[in-house]
Amino acid sequence: MDPIVPLRGKHDQGVSAMKSRLSVIVLWLLLACCMSFTTGPGPFSVNPAWAVTGDGTALAEIEDIRPDEDAAEPAAQENQPAETLVDDPSEGDFEDEEELAGLEQDNGNGVPPIADPIEPFNRAMYQFNDKLYFWVLKPVATGYNKVAPERMRVCVKNFFTNLAFPIRFTSCLLQADFTCTAQETGRFFLNSIWGVAGLFDVASQEGVNLPKQDADLGQTFGVWGIGQGVYIVWPVLGPSSPRDTLGTVGEFFLYPVSYLNPWYASSGVRTYEIINDTSLRIGDYEALKGAAIDPYIAIRDAYVQYRYKKIEKKRLKLFSAPAPAPAESVK
């Protein structure tokens, strides 16, 4: 579950905005414009400021490795603030250069920063989502909290999680992660039959021990080696990247609720699901925002860290190799 984005559904990033197939097609077109289907780390994902280990040589190395991409994507360069490229003489003051390097590597976990060329747009969308949460979603969820006991809300959540089985199953399959596929299948039948159509998560209980698999389509693309690309904040859906947006679109088609007829029945169910999810997480977003110096940056970073780790864990499991982080290539 994504801890950072209150507006998203658990597995699918809530698609109540997509009211018809038409909007999906529009989204695809949009995607085609901004998405680069390069395998390996995306062209935007290198930020020399982070890769430089203390002297300018590392920077030069990056340019050697990826000359064409830098040339092809001037936007990425613009996004890197010029001052971070300039080596800071004060860095020499660090008593122990090695200590500094260790400090950064260790805490960075090799998480590459995300390029944010459309920051003004994203900030506007962040503001919109923030207001949507405080003005609409939170009051509604709080009211819903009062009438629906927590137990019931957990059951509702379990029900939708079970219903989203095709998303996780397909993702596991596309990742060629067959233990994951088998576990998901087992879970689905157990919970659907013994868990009363998924209301109870009997499969996660001790003794059965088939926990929900942490798999989604965006992660699958990441496991395949597609880079994260640039940061996008969608209205309603929240933080995303071209890769994860494509995942969300795919998940829309894999989620049975999307096929409800008429379309407003589907949207209604999705909205209810989002409200139910939110009702179980009131306070999380407030805490994150309260702790942040710049909430926009804090959420962007949390999103990147969360997605990166999710993919890296899968890669470690499948290939015993971490994701090809661009920052790591120059370490």
């Binding site: 801890p3 800071d88 004060s90 950064e104 805490n107 179980l280 805490a287 309260g290 110096i293 949390a302």
Partner: protein
């Protein structure tokens, strides 16, 4: 007489041996988290009026458990040296205040959720990560602690909640501010933030 001698020797060895023994990272976390839980569960400290007493007690645990300077240093990373010693000191203080203002209430809202202390992994002989999970009604939240061996004691310098490292998250924010502004501006922002809450 001989017996006494042996006993004295054993006692002496024990006394000398005790300070040299360092608890494992996992034990350290377990002990400290349990101390926190003790405060939170203390029946004599129920109600709103005792909030400040609880906070005071939690602060004591926090100082034992965390290495504040290390946490600040890592959050600023290469920018740390741009601050004068006085600024560094103020930064540590302000950063502490911000973390306390946000997380104290979250911790005080604890409702007897289950916590499981899973395992530890040594990154180097002086650095470790402890894996725990926090079970809410609807989800399980992985919380990892990163520790450093300081003078024979394991001290926390970073918390990773659901894959998101606190230090890394703040570093991105501080970096963003400091790439465009002098350190004084950052301190001013932090001062404002502390005043707000």
């Amino acid at each position: 007489m001989k017996k006494h001698l042996i006993l004295t020797v054993i006692l002496a060895v024990l006394l000398v041996g005790v300070p040299a023994y360092a608890a494992t990272p996992l034990e350290t976390i377990k002990v400290n988290v349990n101390k926190v839980l003790e405060v939170l569960r203390d029946p004599s400290l129920k109600g709103e009026s005792t909030k400040e007493i609880k906070k005071e007690k939690l602060r004591a645990v926090y100082y034992k458990m965390f290495d504040e300077t290390e946490l600040s240093k890592r959050s600023l990373s290469r920018n740390w040296k741009k601050l004068t010693p006085a600024q560094q000191e103020e930064f540590v203080r302000l950063f502490h205040q911000i973390l306390e203002n946000t997380y104290a209430d979250r911790i005080l809202a604890y409702k007897n959720e289950k916590i499981s202390f899973d395992r530890e992994s040594l990154i180097t002989s002086k650095q470790a990560e402890v894996f725990t999970r926090f079970f809410t009604a609807s989800a399980e939240i992985p919380i990892n602690y990163r520790l450093l061996l300081v003078n024979g004691n394991w001290k926390v310098y970073d918390i990773v909640i659901e894959n998101v490292s606190l230090v890394q998250n703040y570093r991105t924010q501080f970096n963003d501010i400091l790439s465009k502004n002098p350190p004084e501006k950052l301190l001013e922002t932090l001062r404002k933030k502390v005043k707000q809450s």
